[in-house]
Symmetry: C2
Subunit: 181 residues, 2 copies
Amino acid sequence: MAELFDLIQNRRSVRKYENKQIPENLLNQVLEAGRWAPSWHNFQCWEVVVVKDQTIKKKLQDAMPPKGNPSSKAIIQAPVVLGVCAKMESSGYFKGASTTKFGDWMMFDLGLFTQNICLTAHDLGLGTVIVGLYNHDQAKTAIDVPAGYELVVLIPLGYPAKQSTAPPRKQIKEFVHENTF
Amino acid sequence: MAELFDLIQNRRSVRKYENKQIPENLLNQVLEAGRWAPSWHNFQCWEVVVVKDQTIKKKLQDAMPPKGNPSSKAIIQAPVVLGVCAKMESSGYFKGASTTKFGDWMMFDLGLFTQNICLTAHDLGLGTVIVGLYNHDQAKTAIDVPAGYELVVLIPLGYPAKQSTAPPRKQIKEFVHENTF
């Protein structure tokens, strides 16, 4: 398999997928990778809805913004869409109270979880794209997310039909500071 | 090098460090890994303060909660502490306005970034721990984080003095749902 840095550098957002199912064992490996993410106090606030049903995927697509989302078609094309949700008031909380100025840390923990998912998918020859711009309440309804939980990102998952090029990154010196900002 | 899943599964939170500097090229590899993280619209909202100065590390330690943080000693012991900051109102925003119900997505993007950092450090034989529980405003002052930016996590980085065991994880079936939550 590839070296970690190659995986990190060559993972791309995939927005076009082959019309091909993914084996259950690969899907499981992707979910296992998420399972081992670190989290606030090991609370593991994540919940994942694995959507394969085309009718439900259509409802998720309907929640994309009116002007569209570049990943809108991927919701339908990809054989699987992962709806990554979080239990609210868990990460960053202690005995029901927020412990830092940032309140709920669910977004941070889902970021850790999501990166494990995306790197592992790429390692297995699968593509992903992290979709965050849509009407979250509408999409929540489509997959019956209960009160006390939020749906945060949708991640289409499947075989890439097209490789895209890497958007440029800032140089190290543009975001790294020594001892003080 | 190890396979990705081994790295994901065997990365631990390291709270005891050897009294040993880390080579600059390893530190650079860790930062490069962060650099290639995905982010909202490729905005790359992250900024990193690499703290090696003992006086500044002591000030960061002073920002830990009065009852302590299990990672408090690591701030001093580890040769390097990464102060992972974010530009506010960038991730999740478009033309100065928030685009989703979650407002600022900086926490999510820093999660993606942090996981690249922690996995790469582990791959290089280095340990990390993600420290989120402290007085963020006090720590911000210690490293001169300007207005418009937030310091979110501190990540001690160094050679592990002790391997810890993995805290248990939920089973897949405990957090994965099919088609609907």
